[in-house]
Symmetry: C2
Subunit: 266 residues, 2 copies
C-alpha cells in the first residue's frame, strides 16, 4: 500500500497527548489526524503511527507519523488536504512517499526535544502556554554541569516515569545543551535541547527537573550524578511541567524530518 511519512506540528495545550486513549473519550492529536485522514480516505479508518508519544500539554514542531493509504496521493496535495481538515492546533508541514513497511516509531534513530524555561517572580501571560516557569533565579553554570551528566550511553531508569513497557532503560544521548536566551521576557529564559536515540516516559521533563534542582541549589551536581547512578526514580527530582516541551525533530537513516534544519517544510 502507498506509505507516507507526515511531519506534523501541534499546540499540545488542549490535547490529552499524542496517543489515543483506550476509553476514547480524551481528545488526542493522533485521533485528530486519524479523523482528517478518514475523511480523505472516504470513511475508511487510517492508522497513524507517531514517532513520539508526546504527553498531554507537550507541543511538536516536527513530530513524524507514518500512514498507509488505499490510493496514491501527490504529497503536496496530501498536505494541503490535511490542513484543510485538521483543527488549527495541528498542521501537516510535509508529506513524503516512503517504502512499504516504513514505521515512524520503529524506524526512528534519533529525536530532538527542546524545553523552554522562564524564570523570575512571575511569567509573562503570553508565554504561559509555551514555556515552563519557576520563580527562582537559576545558576547557569550548575545547570550546564548537570546537563553534561546525561551525555553518552547511560541507564536512565532514575528519569523514567513508571507505567512504560520498555525492555531497557539504557539510552544514548548525543547532545545535551543549555543556552540562556535573550528574550522578550523580563527575567532569564533558558532553552534546553537534548537529542538521543530514544527517550523514556517523561525523561526530558525529568532531565529539566534535574537542571532546575541543580540551578536553584536544591542539590549539587555530584548529588544529581549519584541519583542518576542509583537507577531509582525516587532518587530524582520531580519532572518539569509539560507546557515548556516541544518535540522538534525525528531522525531516520534516510535523513531528518522536522523544520529546524530546513528540510521537510515547504
Amino acid at each position: 500500500m502507498p506509505t507516507y511519512r507526515l511531519t506534523l506540528a501541534y499546540d499540545g495545550t488542549d490535547f490529552a497527548g499524542w496517543q489515543s486513549q483506550r476509553a476514547g473519550t480524551a481528545r488526542t492529536v493522533q485521533a485528530a489526524v486519524e479523523d482528517a485522514l478518514r475523511t480523505l480516505a472516504g470513511g475508511a479508518r487510517v492508522a497513524v503511527a507517531g514517532a513520539g508519544r508526546t504527553d498531554a500539554g507537550v507541543h511538536a514542531r516536527g513530530q513524524v507519523a507514518s500512514i498507509e493509504l488505499d490510493a496514491a496521493w501527490d504529497p503536496p496535495t496530501l498536505v494541503r488536504a490535511l490542513n484543510a481538515l485538521l483543527p488549527a492546533e495541528v498542521r501537516a508541514l510535509d508529506a513524503a512517499a516512503e517504502a512499504d513497511g516504513f514505521h515512524a516509531r520503529r524506524d526512528a534513530v534519533g529525536k530532538l526535544y527542546r524545553y523552554v524555561l522562564d524564570t523570575g517572580p512571575f511569567q509573562l501571560p503570553t508565554r504561559r502556554r509555551l514555556a515552563g516557569h519557576v520563580p527562582w533565579t537559576l545558576d547557569e553554570t550548575a545547570m550546564r554541569a548537570a546537563a553534561a551528566l546525561f551525555v553518552g550511553r547511560r541507564d536512565f531508569a532514575s528519569l523514567a516515569s513508571s507505567g512504560g513497557s520498555v525492555k531497557t532503560t539504557v539510552r544514548t544521548v548525543s547532545r545535551s545543551e543549555l543556552t540562556r536566551e535573550s528574550s522578550d521576557a523580563p527575567f532569564a529564559t533558558f532553552v534546553y535541547e537534548v537529542e538521543a536515540d530514544g527517550f523514556l516516559r517523561k525523561m526530558v521533563r525529568s532531565m529539566v527537573g534535574g537542571l532546575i534542582a541543580a540551578g536553584r541549589g536544591a542539590c549539587s551536581v555530584a548529588q544529581l550524578q549519584a541519583a542518576l547512578e542509583a537507577r531509582d526514580r525516587r532518587a530524582w527530582p520531580a519532572p518539569a511541567p509539560a507546557c515548556g516541551l516541544t518535540l522538534v525533530r525525528v531522525r531516520y537513516r534516510s535523513g531528518a524530518s522536522g523544520a529546524e534544519d530546513g528540510t521537510g517544510v515547504r
Copy 2:
C-alpha cells in the same frame, strides 16, 4: 489619595478587550484588575483607568493604568499582592507612586504598538494566538513604502473604526517600521512597530491591513496614499486580526512605562 501607576502585561486571547462593558457580562482586563484591587482594598471599589483601550484579543506588554487607593502601599508589595490575586493571563510588571491627579490615559504622550504577522500557506499552531496570519507571500519593499505613508502629523480618518467619540482624527506618528524577522516559523514573519501620540479605534490593525494590501499587490502604494488622503474609512483595506497586536509601551512626560527599554520591570 495615594495614586499609583501600574504597568500591566496580559494575554488578550480570552478577554473581551480592556474596557469594562456597560452590561457587565463580558470578561474584560479592566474588570480583572478592579476585582483584584477590590480584594486588596478590603472590598471597596477601586477605579482603574487604562492608557489604551485595547480591543478583544489584543495583548499588552506595557499597558499602563492609574489607580487611587485609600491607603499607601509599598510599590513592590503592591505588585506582589496583585500578582497573587490576578488570573494568570494578567500580570502587574511594576507599580510606582505618582502625584495626585495622575491619569494613565489623559497624561500619556505616546504609545508604541507592535504587530506580528506570519505569512505562508499555514500558520504554526503554537503561534496562532500571538500572531496574525495571511496565506500570501508579501512584498517587503511595498510594505515598507506603505509604512512610510503614516509618518508625520496626518488625518487618519480613513483608518478609524466608527463608534468612537474622538474630537479629531489627526494624530502624529513618530515611528512606523517594518522588519522581517528570522524566526522559528517556516515562512516569513513580519514585525511592524508604530509609535504615535495617540491612536484611533482599530487604527494599528487598519495600518497593518494597508501594509498587507500593498504587500500582496492588491493595491499600489499610490492608491493607499490616495485612500489615506480620502479621509473615508470605506476607502481603506480591512483591519488585520486582533491576535497579532500588542500594546508595548506608553510614554509619559516623566518617562516611559513598559518593558522594552528596561524600565518598569524589576
